[in-house]
């Protein structure tokens, strides 16, 4: 499957994505918050700096909210990466979360990891697993282990069919092989090197209970494939980009938005990740989260819009920009980059 951009699909446009969601008749997110007695989303202290280093990826998964793929060329420059480090130097944000695309394919990946760890921060690599097997990435697993990088890796199903349907033929087998390499390097084995797996639904429905799914994953992956991991995180599919294209193609958009609305959870709304995250784009622009970044919804215009402006003027607290896609974070048990919210 090619990226939406490469086939000039109308849904490659963020404006068209937001228009498509509006056409479902779903109410505006802020109106939902108000009707359920939840205050508008304001940020708290920033705990995670999530840096998207670019859209290049060795896969083109069917649910990708980034529309990433081998054809994408957007990539962070060294100058911007240095600004990320400068921000971390000046602000005690405890976690640097590096994402993409496949972030490891960025020339700035190792620089950011080394700098983040030197500053004593927790560094997360949002890894698609298969990237670890690429010949060009030789030495990556020892590098990650040496710098004690936490790995958060996608594996939508403990069965080949589900994973391959969503992420491409043969991806399950490769993911298991990569997980085995990580286990061999000490990851997931209780020695302080952490690999968490991410489950997200293979279709237009919400994820099941995180703890119960974790038990299934743990047993199936251990007994059938001999691999282990730390925690399972469940993340709902956001109705944007390639997952939205799937919803549209299968006439599921209205149903899915109804489901998100029907299962709106006020407790999850109060804990959405944008309240404690700051998201940085490959070009240094600032967003409330990676989803807003892909929808090109920049941070509230009152504050700094780029890393450079933030470094010059300061100002980390802000009102969060929301739209209908936000219902994906507040449905059921809630969803964030750290898994279910309750």
């Amino acid at each position: 499957m090619p990226s939406l951009l490469s086939v000039r699909h109308p849904l490659a446009s963020p404006t068209e994505q937001l228009r498509t969601l509006a056409r479902t008749g779903a109410p505006a997110f802020d109106a939902v918050l108000e009707s359920r007695g939840v205050a508008p989303l304001e940020t708290r202290a920033i705990e995670v700096l999530q840096v998207n280093v670019g859209k290049l990826c060795n896969q083109t998964c069917g649910h990708c909210h980034v529309d990433a793929g081998p054809d994408r060329r957007e990539s962070m420059t060294h100058e911007t990466a240095e600004q990320v480090v400068e921000l971390l130097t000046r602000h005690p944000i405890p976690t640097l979360d590096i994402t993409g695309g496949a972030p490891e394919l960025s020339p700035e990946f190792r620089f950011l990891v080394e700098a983040g760890r030197r500053l004593g921060r927790r560094v997360i690599d949002r890894c698609n697993l298969t990237v670890l097997l690429l010949p060009s990435q030789d030495g990556l697993v020892p590098f990650l282990a040496e710098h004690r990088v936490d790995i958060v890796a996608s594996l939508p199903s403990f069965r080949a069919s589900g994973t391959d349907t969503q992420r491409g033929e043969g991806v399950f087998a490769k993911s298991v092989a990569a997980l085995r390499r990580l286990n061999d390097a000490g990851y997931g084995t209780g020695r302080g090197l952490v690999v968490d797996l991410v489950h997200n639904p293979v279709g237009a429905f919400l994820p099941g209970t995180q703890a119960s799914l974790e038990r299934d994953y743990r047993r199936e992956l251990r007994d059938r494939h001999g691999v282990v991991f730390d925690r399972l995180l469940t993340i709902a599919n956001m109705p944007i980009s390639r997952f939205l294209e799937f919803l549209e193609r299968t006439a599921n958009t209205g149903r899915y938005m109804d489901l998100l609305l029907r299962t709106f959870n006020p407790a999850a709304a109060a804990g959405v990740m944008c309240r404690t995250h700051l998201s940085v784009g490959w070009d240094g622009a600032l967003y409330d989260c990676d989803f807003n970044q892909m929808l090109e919804l920049p941070v509230d215009p009152g504050g700094p819009a780029t890393l450079r402006a933030l470094l010059e003027r300061g100002g980390l607290s802000r009102r969060v920009r929301t739209d209908r896609h936000c219902l994906g974070c507040t449905a059921g048990a809630g969803s964030s980059c750290g898994g279910a919210l309750e």
Partner: protein, 110 residues
């Protein structure tokens, strides 16, 4: 109403809580406890429910537990196997009653 079964009726299930809410509350409490993660995971219980739904041929339960199985991480291979298990037991239970037929026939036949 022009048909006994209507997909929209599934979402009206809770209307059975009217009139005798205390019975509904007891049933729902039991129901939630049965399907909670326990010695079996939620996925395993949903697969059993899917098999039973086919055995009792309840379209509401088939709809509900097809969705539940998918949400809880089951795939079509597993769900198809669950339906085959229901089918095998259903067919087998007819067949095993053939022994009763044979017993009676043997008793009264010449």
């Amino acid at each position: 109403m022009d048909t006994y079964y209507c997909p929209h009726d599934l979402s009206k299930f809770a209307e059975m809580g009217k009139n005798r809410p205390e019975l509904w509350a007891k049933y729902m409490e039991y129901y939630s406890a049965v399907f909670a993660d326990g010695a079996l995971t939620e996925r395993e219980k949903a697969l059993i429910a899917l098999g039973v739904a086919h055995s009792v041929q309840c379209p509401y339960c088939i709809d509900a537990y097809t969705n539940a199985c998918l949400e809880k991480g089951a795939d079509l291979d597993q769900m198809t196997e669950a339906v085959h298990v229901a089918n095998a037991i259903r067919g087998g239970s007819s067949l095993v009653h053939g022994v009763q037929m044979r017993n009676i026939a043997e008793k009264v036949g010449m």
